[in-house]
Structure formats: structure tokens, C-alpha cells
């Protein structure tokens, strides 16, 4: 990675005169490469600049969405990270929540079925037992995400927003190929630093499609696929029983079995199985399709009856609202 002023290959992909496709996204938020960010990082942190840098990074993401993506990496948040590192001096930094995961998907006769487990781990601890790993991209497309939980959520949210803007601007339903291309360009631009291993499936006018996008930006179009730490276990089931043009119930059972293989065979996957069945007519998001057999019920009652805490006095203050103005504004509807 070149840290001087030269434009790198990845930065070239974002610039408008080289890739018209990027302009057509209509709104991947700009991330700017700032040559001075590295110099500022080494200066001492005073109280006021700390707060500004804490929010300054986030503010850059709230710029107008209707700008073409700027080239290069964004180092806006390096100052904030350096400050946080100094605040946490001595104690280990917080580990990112990863989804040690089993996600899988397959194309059947009428559409695609996507499946995922629901365990999110942070090191050796299960951080979330009911994590949702199948993200909605648009009415006809859903995306499963494995890897770093924040990265998959943010990447799919950005994709969903940009496709919604595209739909509104062009009056067209987006194709699955377009979503895969956008994911590819975004992830490639960050050179693998965004740990998102995605399975994108959907039905558009040209049929049912299933793509897998890797964190470095490689795309593969396949009839069945699995990703995540439990992918090898899931792939064994899919390889054995997959046939083209299966019926919907058989396909749901196959995907459930593949995710179950990951849940049983991989420590990073567990809890429930979520399924999402996408056809040209409808989307069936089944959460959970199968509940974990290993949950403990709660052993105690955690609700306290009214009166457990003694009531000493009661004072009721009615909030009086005055009607100040009333206005009727007509909407222009034809």
C-alpha cells in the first residue's frame, strides 16, 4: 500500500473518469484519504480535540449520499483509535465480535434458499445467541454474512441503501449481478481490511442467482455455496445431496441440514437455524426455522410482583399542552 501522494490501483477504481459504474451507484458515502491524518495521529491528545476527533470520523459518513465515491482509503478514524488506545493503556483492547459462522445457500427450481446459524462469538465467549446473519438487501435479494459482524452488517446496510437510491432514481428493480458488483468494488477498494465473507442470493427478472463475495473482492457465481468457519462441514452435505431444480421443501431441508452440520461440527457456529426462501412471488424469512435443542429454560422468576418495593408517596403532575398553531399542508398527489 502506497502511503505517499501517488494514486494506487484501488484508488483509481473509485475515480469517476476511470469507472463509470461507480458513478451509477448514486451514493456510496465518500471516504477520503487524508495525507495529514498520519501526522495528526502522533500529536498529543488534549481534551477538546479528543471529542472532536471522536465525532469527526463519524461525521464524514453523514455527508450527502449523492456523491460518487472518492478514491483511496479513509483514515478519519485513526485519531480516534489512537486516543482510545491511550485511554485503555494497560488493559487489552476490546476484541471485535466475529461471527464464527455457518452460512449456506442454494438455487432450487423456483428461486434461492439461504440458511445461517445464529451464534456470534467474541473470542471464546458467545456474544449473541440469536444473531441475525441474513440481511435484507432489497425486496428480492438477501445476503448472508460471515466474518466480522460489524463489517458484514455495515457493508450490507450500505449496499441496501445504495440499491434503494438506485431503484428510486432509475425506476428499475436492481439485478443481483449489480449488487454483487457493488460489493466486489467496495470490498476490493479496502484490500481485505473489511472482513466480510458474503453469500448474496436473489431473484430478478433474469432468474434466480447466487453469488459469493470474498473479503478481498473476489466474486463467484455458484449453484450452491457455504461460507464461514463451518463451511467445510456444510459443504459436505451440500456436495452430497445437491441436485439442480429441487423442490422448495427438499431445498429447505437440505440447507437446514447443511447449517446443522456446521452447528454440530464447528465450535464457532451454534444455536438456531434461520432460513430465507426467495422466489419470484414472495420472500419467506423463517427466523427461526429450527430452534436449538440445547437452550436452558430460566430457572428463576425474574419478575417482581407490584408492592415488592414499598410505595411511600405518589404525585401526579398533568402535562398541560397548549395548541399554538395549526397548519394544513397539501401534498402534491396526482
Amino acid at each position: 500500500m502506497q502511503l505517499n501522494g501517488c494514486r494506487s490501483f484501488r484508488s483509481m477504481l473509485g475515480s469517476p473518469d476511470i469507472s463509470l459504474a461507480n458513478n451509477a451507484y448514486w451514493g456510496i458515502p465518500s471516504r477520503r484519504w487524508d495525507a495529514n491524518a498520519w501526522k495528526r495521529q502522533s500529536s498529543s491528545a488534549e481534551q477538546l480535540p479528543v471529542l472532536m476527533s471522536l465525532f469527526g470520523g463519524e461525521m464524514s459518513l453523514l455527508r450527502s449520499p449523492l456523491q460518487p465515491p472518492s478514491p483511496g482509503f479513509s483514515f478519519d478514524l485513526t485519531e480516534r483509535n489512537a486516543v482510545l488506545g491511550r485511554l485503555l493503556e494497560g488493559s487489552p483492547p476490546p476484541r471485535p465480535v466475529k461471527t464464527g459462522t455457518t452460512i449456506s445457500g442454494m438455487v432450487f427450481r423456483d428461486g434461492v434458499v439461504l440458511g445461517a446459524d445464529t451464534r456470534a462469538t467474541s473470542g471464546d465467549v458467545v456474544a449473541d445467541k440469536m444473531c441475525a446473519k441474513i440481511h435484507r438487501i432489497s425486496a428480492n435479494m438477501y445476503c448472508c454474512g460471515a466474518g466480522t459482524a460489524a463489517d458484514t452488517q455495515k457493508t450490507t446496510d450500505l449496499l441496501a441503501s445504495n440499491l434503494a437510491l438506485f431503484s428510486l432514481n432509475s425506476q428499475r428493480a436492481p439485478r443481483v449481478l449489480m449488487a454483487a458488483s457493488i460489493l466486489q468494488d467496495t470490498l476490493y477498494r479496502y484490500g481485505g481490511q473489511i472482513g466480510a465473507h458474503l453469500i448474496l442470493g436473489g431473484v430478478d427478472y433474469s432468474g434466480a442467482h447466487l453469488y459469493t463475495v470474498g473479503p478481498y473482492g473476489s466474486v463467484d457465481k455458484l449453484p450452491f455455496v457455504s461460507m464461514g468457519s463451518g463451511s467445510m462441514a456444510a459443504l459436505g452435505i451440500l456436495e452430497d445431496r445437491y441436485k439442480p431444480n429441487m423442490e422448495v421443501e427438499e431445498a429447505k431441508v437440505l440447507v437446514r441440514d447443511s447449517v446443522q452440520a456446521g452447528i454440530m461440527g464447528d465450535l464457532g457456529s451454534g444455536s438456531n437455524v434461520d432460513l430465507c426462501v426467495i422466489t419470484a412471488q414472495a420472500v419467506d424469512y423463517i427466523r427461526p426455522y429450527q430452534e436449538s435443542q440445547y437452550t436452558n429454560g430460566r430457572n428463576r422468576k425474574y419478575k417482581y410482583p407490584p408492592g415488592t418495593t414499598a410505595l411511600l408517596s405518589e404525585k401526579v403532575v398533568p402535562l398541560r399542552m397548549e395548541l399554538v398553531t395549526e397548519a394544513v399542508q397539501r401534498m402534491e398527489t396526482h
Binding site: 500500500m1 502506497q2 494506487s8 490501483f9 484501488r10 483509481m12 477504481l13 476511470i18 469507472s19 463509470l20 459504474a21 458488483s181 466486489q184 468494488d185 476490493y188 484490500g191 481485505g192 470474498g214 478481498y216 473482492g217 473476489s218 466474486v219 463467484d220 455458484l222 467445510m232
Partner: protein, 198 residues
């Protein structure tokens, strides 16, 4: 690999993509990408880098062809790839074989290596499995082969390389490009010729 024959060019590849040399991430990946009607490119190296470079190059090639109001020359496609690979050699890990047919010079094969070298050859092999078939291809290549001889040559060479190299395998993708157009042939692994494999 790619080889010229009488009237056209055949470009072929295997279909295996691995992750870290240990796990096969895809058994059926198509490494032959069509950048224009009669120009195909074969990718080697990092899949993400190669796909990104090819997307950029095929856009630029299309724009160039619209500006010239003529189908692009094969050398133009190869030059675009070479420019991208050479000027970004610090970040990219991708090599290409470009093969195609144009009206000016007929069938041509160009190879763009990792660092951005561009040369034209009557036939060329590349990739990790190519080391095992240098002898075979040098011995068996003849100029002005017929289409069937060319197909047999490429199929045999791919089968031999896939048989010896662990990171090559799957099916054999072949594309025959002539003046009439491009024809994609897929040979499944079990239909490849066997060489003392029993």
C-alpha cells in the same frame, strides 16, 4: 494456456481456485473472461486482483472501441492489461494471457506477466501447473494446426498439468475464437484424456 491454429486461436484453463493452497474454494471457476466479442483473457494469480483488473480493462476496451468505431485489436486489450499490471505492480498479483482474433492481424496470443511484461507468442502456457507441461508443449506444438489438432493439443496439455499440479484441477474450459466468433467448450474432469492414470 493459449495456442494459435490455422484460422483462429484456442484459449484454455482449468477451473480450480484455492484458499492458501490448502482448501479448494471453488471447483468450477471460469478463468476465461470475455473482454470483447473476439477477445478472451485468462487470469492467473490472486482472484480478486485479476477480476478487478479485468473489469477495469474491459470497460476501458469497450470505451476505446466505441471511440474508434471499430472492434478493438487484440494488442489493445493486452496493452491495457499490461499498463494496469505494470503501473500497479506493487499492489497487484495478477497475470494474464490474452487471446483473440482481429481483422488486421488474425489470430494472436499475448502474455502479460506479473510485473507487466507483454510479449506475443504463437502459443503460451502460464500458471502454477505450466511448469509440468513445458516439455510437452514444446515437443508437440506445430504451426498451422487444424482446429481439431489444436483442441486436442490444448486438452492434452491441460489434462497433463491438472494431473500433476495439486492446485490445478476441476474441469477444462476451452474457448475457440475465429473470425466467425467465439465458442465455449467445457470438458468435465472425468472426460479428460488419461495418461497412465490407472
Amino acid at each position: 494456456m493459449a495456442v494459435t491454429f490455422d484460422g483462429g486461436v484456442i484459449i484454455g484453463s482449468d477451473s480450480r481456485a484455492t484458499r492458501g493452497g490448502e482448501e479448494v474454494s471453488s471447483k468450477t471457476i471460469n478463468k476465461l473472461v470475455q473482454v470483447h466479442q473476439r477477445i478472451f483473457c485468462c487470469m492467473a494469480g490472486s482472484l480478486a486482483d485479476a477480476q478487478a483488473v479485468l473489469k477495469t480493462a474491459s470497460f476501458q476496451l469497450n470505451l476505446h472501441s466505441v471511440q474508434m468505431e471499430a472492434p478493438p485489436r487484440v494488442i489493445a486489450a493486452a496493452s491495457l492489461l499490461r499498463k494496469l499490471c505494470y503501473h500497479n505492480k506493487d499492489e497487484l498479483q495478477a497475470g494474464f494471457i490474452t487471446a483473440g482474433w482481429d481483422p488486421q492481424k488474425g489470430p494472436q496470443v499475448y502474455v502479460v506477466s506479473l510485473g507487466g511484461m507483454l510479449i506475443s507468442q504463437p502459443f503460451t502456457i502460464a500458471g502454477s501447473g505450466s511448469t509440468y507441461i513445458y516439455g510437452y508443449t514444446d515437443a508437440k506444438y506445430r504451426p498451422h494446426m487444424t482446429r481439431e489438432e489444436g483442441l486436442q493439443f490444448v486438452t492434452n496439455a491441460l489434462a497433463l498439468a491438472m494431473g500433476r499440479d495439486n492446485v490445478s484441477g476441476g474441469v477444462a474450459h476451452l474457448v475457440v475464437i475465429t473470425e466467425e466468433g467465439a465458442e465455449h467448450v467445457v470438458i468435465p474432469g472425468n472426460k479428460l484424456p488419461k495418461f497412465h492414470d490407472e
